[in-house]
Amino acid sequence: MAEGKSILVDTSKCTACRGCQVACKQWNGLPGTKTKQVGTYQNPQDISTDTWKLVRFAEGVKADGKPYWYFFAEQCRHCVSPPCMLQSTVKDAITQDDATGAVIFTETTAKLNHKDILEACPYRVPRQDAKTKVMRKCTMCFDRITNDMPPACVKSCPTGAMIFGGRSEILDKAAKRVAELKTTYPLAKAIDPDDVRVVFIVVDDPKKYYEFAAA
């Protein structure tokens, strides 16, 4: 496979404006779902077949007694060796694009066992449509990236928290940024950079961001 593409999500620069969450819906023609205020900024509550990119909000108190509020703009990580694809029992239900490395769910995912695919995913991303049984998730904006446009989420990011590019370039940038951040945040790290194409940088324990932030 070619080196393919990658997305860097630097949570230290994310202000949780949710431009990415909305841009994803706009580009991919996904509906706004009916939600309720349940006592958090996070809404919808979870990713779904209609929500492929979701900003997760996690708050608490730091050792110095001051609050923290971490934002995790979650999406499919587009694994280098996708466990969901390995788990798939139907040919071409889940495919990986040779040029970009994007992991694509097709309509025949309807024939797969959702529980198996979900549990195979270290990040618990795949979601199934209740009626059609088709599974859906982020496509890395496959129709955009194969036409020289960055994914819609990256395009919408006002602070530069998200960058799109060739995988080695993105991994270099991630390593450099982590080194910078470590001077202030000793726990700063890139999450599973060798295994995924959507690389998140965090400044604290990934579990504080989201249960399944890291594999």
Binding site: S12, K13, T15, A16, C17, R18, G19, Q21, V22, K25, Q26, P31, G32, T33, K34, T35, K36, Q37, V38, G39, T40, Y41, N43, P44, E59, G60, V61, K66, P67, Y68, W69, Y70, F71, P158, T159, G160, E180
Partner: protein
């Protein structure tokens, strides 16, 4: 903004206070984070830990409405520890001026207060002048009545313990913020302040901003790259609306609105441009008569002549002390004296304080014309909660308007950059641009006056109204050119002749004899002499490397990207900060940004000028005797506050605010029925009252319903769980919303009192979605800043209980 958005990246220390920039001005954070990446410190001071705080190097909380105490403590820190930029303060501020003998301050009140009028006699605060009318100075600062010494005395009371008892901020945090920020009081460091409605929307709003301006002057942070006093404006063109006189006390370009006592043009312009005898002060406002006459020529064209005072008598005049601001207008409507109401792009039934009063007031109207892109709670007020449509007599006309991307025109951003934009799509159905609606409306009024006559027809029949294109449609370019201004005859200035019909390329060329026109003098230069639209420029050269981008769009005044920039150089014209030179005097001319006037630097004894050219005396005011409530900002509690007394003195709240005394306006400070401080704000996902964003499903999905944020401690005390429905109630009304229990709000310890605070967005209303909850402004009080009448949305008292 004195500076502009991109310039934030040049800062060494960014104080965000009175603002939730990351949420409400998301793009600003591109530049904040860029500065931070280069090593700048970001400080956020806010009652609530927000998405802005999450990115700050240092966060601390203060109780809503206590910013002057917090900043007053910073002034004391600067003076006690000699952190001020001495040369800047000596030369560029009024620190050396002498405060007059009548001035005094005692127990919360300045000299000259008349309690019966709730007004000060400001002459009591005058600075000393010599026999020529020039201010007396003591550059040695030995005179105890020197401004700098009076400043020190005034803020000596703002010690850490006292400030902490007011703000609820721990003293260690106060000290930390003061140290971090005041490290910028040296030549080669810049500190900036980003503020927004969190400062303006208080009974002491103007004084909040003035306190910070004084700090910026003491630290030498005004006029420099990476510094300034920066108001983040929340609507893409709200700066433009202010420039063009949306406020009741102004004409375009910040010229004062005429008063009834000013019966002739001469009397009017004499008040506009003060005289000052020191030749080293440019005193730019002495040019204001030229701008006033050019404005009258723009409005009345050939009808305006020298012989008829350029039709000055046709302008509406305000009565002595007349207040036409929103709160008073609604009060008049409530009383029944206002019969018609035109609302353009606003939703006052949700955006103004004490919404129930506003909605009731509207039932007294005969007619209401509403121009908007969607229906909202104001257009549909007659079928709102508690109102019987059968009993509301008001006739409502809803005119569909074009959205911003459906029309051509200019937008002026917070940094004063005027950017021309083009139409992306036609508006749907019968919708028209607001310009088109206003143009047609006035054309029709003129036609009716011509046909039927009427009272005082001259100003209407003679109004210059030729802004249609060849097809008869509204032409925004024609309006923009009129705003810029024309030469109406050939004019020769300094051996150069400008032809009749050409655009005026700079306000320096405007005349007071009727030979030029300009609809807003500060916009003169937005077109070149040959009519090229400078606002449409899109060149990306950046010769200074500071991000000024002088050929991207155009900015007022005269494309000067950072105003007061003569204060960025020393008196000989050399940049204080050689690493980020904004301006330099090189070989007899200025290099860099467009300077604040062409004159040589101040050290030139013959031709040099002081840097603050918009002040008559040429220097900035640490002592400012012009505001309603005093020459030095003083901490007063909000109209509704939690404390039994003001720890700073006997005067509880701002002595100069207007009190509305109707039953529906009742307020309740330190009242056990309403024990918790409440503040209101917006969120990233909705815009203002949500009148536009609540129709957008992806945004409603992200922020679907009204909520109240509160601490875990308060929730426990009131037996409230996260996600519970709760009632929030003030002296004026109540709303049902969802409780958001969070670690991001904490109780304040103010002296020996624990103060709980809650916060709500004002993004919702009853109309749509039907389950989103009604406006937080049902709770807010009818009271405004003593100078501007900007409502106190940010600090008032409520109770919270389980629904």
């Amino acid at each position: 903004m004195t500076n502009h958005w991109i310039d934030i990246k040049n800062s060494d220390c960014i104080l965000i206070m009175g603002s939730n920039a990351a949420e409400n001005h998301p793009i600003s954070f591109k530049w904040v984070l860029r500065a931070q990446e280069k090593g700048a410190k970001v400080i956020h001071v806010d009652p609530r830990f927000t998405r802005t705080s999450s990115k700050a190097d240092f966060y601390t909380a203060l109780r809503s409405g206590t910013d002057i105490a917090f900043l007053g403590g910073m002034i004391k820190y600067i003076l006690d520890n000699n952190k001020f930029f001495k040369e800047y303060v000596e030369n560029y501020t009024n620190a050396a001026f002498i405060v007059g003998d009548k001035y005094s301050f005692s127990d919360g009140l300045f000299a000259g207060y008349d309690p019966s009028k709730r007004k000060y006699d400001k002459s009591s605060w005058a600075l000393k002048k010599d026999e020529n009318g020039v201010y007396v100075k003591d550059p040695t600062f030995q005179n105890p009545r020197c401004v700098i010494n009076m400043l020190k005395e005034h803020y000596s009371r703002y010690n850490l313990e006292k400030v902490s008892a007011i703000t609820g901020t721990p003293t260690a945090d106060l000290q930390a913020v003061y140290e971090m920020y005041c490290a910028t009081g040296v030549k080669d460091k810049a500190g900036t302040i980003m503020y927004a409605l969190g400062w303006t929307q208080h009974t002491v709003g103007v004084q909040n901003i003035r306190t910070m301006s004084m700090i910026q002057l003491l630290l030498g942070n005004i006029g420099i790259a990476g510094g300034g006093v920066n108001a983040l404006r929340g609507e893409p063109n709200v700066q433009g609306s202010t420039d063009h006189a949306i406020l009741t006390h102004l004409l375009p370009g910040y010229l004062n609105a005429p008063q009834a006592s000013q019966t002739t043009l001469k009397e009017y312009v004499e008040k506009l441009g003060p005289k000052y005898a020191d030749p080293r002060s440019a005193n730019w406002k002495q040019n204001y008569p030229k701008y006033a006459v050019s404005l009258l020529k723009a409005w009345y064209g050939d009808a305006a002549t020298k012989d008829n005072d350029f039709c000055y008598s046709w302008l509406p005049k305000a009565d002595e002390g007349q207040d036409s601001t929103l709160l008073t207008m609604i009060d008049n409507m409530y009383e029944g004296t206002v019969k018609g109401f035109t609302v353009i792009g606003q939703n006052p039934a949700c955006s103004l304080p004490n919404s129930s009063k506003v909605r009731q007031a509207m039932t007294n109207l005969d007619w209401h014309v509403h121009i908007n892109i969607f229906d909202n709670e104001t257009a549909s007020f007659w079928k709102g909660p508690g109102l019987d449509p059968k009993k509301v007599k008001t006739e409502v006309f809803l005119l569909p308007a074009a959205a911003s991307m459906e029309k051509e025109g200019s937008m002026t951003n917070s940094g004063r950059w005027v950017q021309w934009k083009y139409k992306a799509a036609n508006p749907p159905g019968d919708a028209l641009s607001v310009g088109d609606i206003i143009y047609r409306l006035m054309a029709k009024v003129k036609e009716l006056y011509k046909k039927e006559g009427g009272a005082f027809p001259d100003p209407i029949l003679n109004l210059k109204w030729d802004y249609a294109d060849s097809k008869g449609a509204f032409d925004p370019l024609a309006v923009a050119k009129q705003i810029n201004g024309y030469f109406l005859q050939d004019v020769t200035v300094a051996d150069k002749t400008y032809k009749k019909g050409e655009c005026v390329p700079s306000f320096a060329l405007l005349q007071d004899d009727g030979r030029t026109s300009s609809g807003c003098w500060i916009y003169a230069g937005s077109f070149t002499q040959d009519g090229t639209n400078q606002m449409a420029r899109r060149k990306k050269e950046d010769p200074t490397g500071l991000g000024l981008y002088p050929q991207w769009s155009w900015c007022w005044p005269v494309n000067r990207r950072i105003i007061y920039n003569r204060a960025s150089v020393d008196p000989s014209g050399q940049p204080y900060n050689p690493k980020r030179p904004l301006l330099a005097w090189v070989d007899g001319k200025w290099v860099g940004d467009v300077p604040d006037g062409p004159w040589p630097p101040m050290a030139d004894a013959e031709k040099g000028k002081y840097p603050f050219i918009m002040k008559a005396e040429g220097v900035a005011s640490l002592y400012g005797p012009g505001l309603a409530e005093g020459p030095f900002p003083e901490h007063y509690e909000p109209l509704e506050g939690p404390l039994p007394k003001n720890p700073m003195g006997a005067q509880m709240s701002n002595p100069a605010i207007k009190i509305f005394a109707r039953e529906c306006d009742k307020f309740a400070g330190c009242d056990p029925r309403f024990p918790f401080v409440c503040t209101t704000y917006s969120s990233t996902e909705h815009w203002c009252t949500g009148a536009i964003t609540r129709w957008q499903t992806w945004l409603v999905e992200a922020q679907p319903q009204a909520y109240v944020e509160m601490s875990q401690e308060l929730a426990k005390m009131k037996n409230i769980n996260n996600g519970d429905k709760v009632i929030v109630e003030s002296a004026r009304g109540k709303v049902e919303v969802v409780a958001m229990v969070t670690t991001r709000f904490r109780p304040f310890t103010c002296g020996d009192q624990v103060v709980h605070q809650v916060g709500m967005t004002y993004n919702y209303g009853w109309l749509f979605p039907t389950d989103c909850g009604d406006s937080a402004n049902i709770l807010t009080p009818t009271v405004g800043d003593a100078n501007t009448m900007t409502p106190e949305y940010k600090a008032f008292m409520v109770n919270v209980r389980k629904a």
